[in-house]
Amino acid sequence: MTALKYPKVQRAGRWFDVRRRRLGMWAYAVNRITGIGLVVYLYLHLAVLSLLSRGPETWDSFVSMARSPFYLSLDVILLAGILIHGLNGLRIALTGFDVGVRQQKMLFGVLMLGAAILLAVAALKIFGG
Amino acid sequence: MLRPQIIIVGAGSTGAATAHDLALRGIDVTVIERGEVASGTTGRNHCLLHSGGRYCVTDQESAIECIEENLTLRKIMPDLLELNDGLFVALNEADLAFKERFLEGCAACHIAARDIPVKHALAMEPFLNPAVLAAVQIPDGVFEPFRFCLAFLATARLNGAIVRRYTEVTDFRCSGKSVTGVKIRDRVTGRSETLDADLVVNAAGPWAGEIAAKAGVTVPEVPTAGVMVTVDCRLNNMVLNRLNKPSDGDIVVPQRATSVIGTTSWTVENPDLIAIPPEHVERMITQGELLLPTVRKIPMRAKMAVARPLIARSGADAREVSRTFECFDHASAGVNGFVTIAGGKTTTARAMAERVSDIVCQKLGLTAACRTRDVPLTSYRLFYQ
């Protein structure tokens, strides 16, 4: 008897599909997306740091470029990713040790609110100098 | 000589238990079921493991069968039963007057019955109507019909039985006056084929008449529907019965986190499609309320209706028809190699299987004895593995 099985690729993409799913699923998807983004950033960052080995001039010219508003807004996006991933990570750690499991949705809400506030403060600081 | 091939039509409790019985006797069996296991009458069961108390006054033959099988099932499927006993409670003077007859009936049928203090009953059943006047505790229990059948079939399969689901019987192949095979259609592949059979056991419940008609014989069966209503909270630990003759809505069976109130009774034409009359549902709630006053406040979780395969006895109404079973050897109507097992209830499925298997063996000239009383069943989960 030949049973119908959906292709692996299609199934593997399910973590991405939040349609008709609930808050926990969104948290999972967002965590993954920010996680992937942060890994990419990590290696970019490490690559940029190699400029340090080329001496003061190279680095300082990079720093002056990176102080432009365009780079600063990229910083804000980075910070958003870090805050979301980090605070959601706290939810995963806490619930993973059986703390606040029943309140996980509220926990997520509170943590994301915290992330938003921190981001707003940080953005003011970044652009306000 | 080739090993005899037996085909069983229907994988409800009777078919499943018969497959197990025959397989245990070393006979090759194939079960043909048109849907999922227990998708007919057995599935939509009240889940009551009868102690016989319900019939000990009106139908002692059934009551004795029930208590015997109740004790046997405790041995062969101990893990599949919720054994909390049952209470028969009196709510008015008429009920109270029935108590003596009930206790006598239980004694006559060897059903252990204890007349317990009302205070005691209310302590065990905090949601029971506080106006209760008397309570008798008897060894009722709860099973789960789907897994009940799966366990029988899983064990049968370990002993070589074949179970074909989503396969329906379209016709019989006859040679002269004997049934020699079954024409089937697989509803998954769409293919039709004919299976050889030395004997066919018709265990199709309320559809037994329809199957028998394909072989040109009749079964005196009355498909009788009943409505059951499930509420969204478990209100009783034990099975609660009204202490009186069986009537509509006089029993509440707990099932997992719910309570199931049942039942009504009316004759139906087409057991495939039964419309649930809203007034029957309302009657279940009104009657259930008498036993458990909280019932009406709880949201309804499900309601179901299914036809029971009661055997007709001339002139009797549905409640009076005996709940016992009967085995019909259609050789008496001129068709060989074809027997029907009908009536009965899930609690007595093993006994029905024993009876029909004895007849099968006798017809085939085999001497293997029934062993289902003592052989414990394997895990129902193995059916799907």
């Binding site: 593997a12 996680g35 740091l49 680095w59 300082d60 910083d75 970044i126 | 593995q385």
Partner: protein, 119 residues
């Protein structure tokens, strides 16, 4: 039929490491971010500043710890995503080996950059 789920699998500490490095990151990344992008004038340090900063032994230890934490956390995360694809046992092993190698290279590179700055 053999039941593949009835056998005890090899225990794993991957998730626990992910959580512990994650908790470490919340602290270390917090410090790293505040020190390098908020306290520093204009959100970034110039070269001389970086050198002075990293020559502080406490900072140096913290930054190296941070490097270890972030690398393992990131690569454990990548590994989780890859394992989630439903790999064969063989492929799972190869993914682990490749990511371990990548981790060692990453940390080595990080240490080299640090050394290049403070020497």
């Amino acid at each position: 039929m053999e039941n593949p789920f009835a056998e005890e699998p090899k225990p794993t500490a991957a998730w626990l490491w992910q959580v512990f490095t994650g908790i470490g990151l919340v602290i270390l990344l917090g410090l790293h971010f505040i020190a390098n992008h908020f306290i520093a004038k204009g959100g970034l340090r110039d070269f001389a500043d970086v050198v002075a900063y990293l020559r502080n032994p406490v900072i140096l230890v913290l930054e190296i710890l941070f490097l270890l934490c972030v690398t393992s956390h990131a690569l454990l995360g990548v590994r989780a995503i890859l394992v989630d694809l439903g790999l064969s046992e063989q492929a799972e092993k190869r993914v682990s080996q490749a990511l371990t190698l990548l981790g060692v290279l990453t940390v080595g590179y990080g240490l080299w950059v640090t050394w290049a700055v403070i020497r």
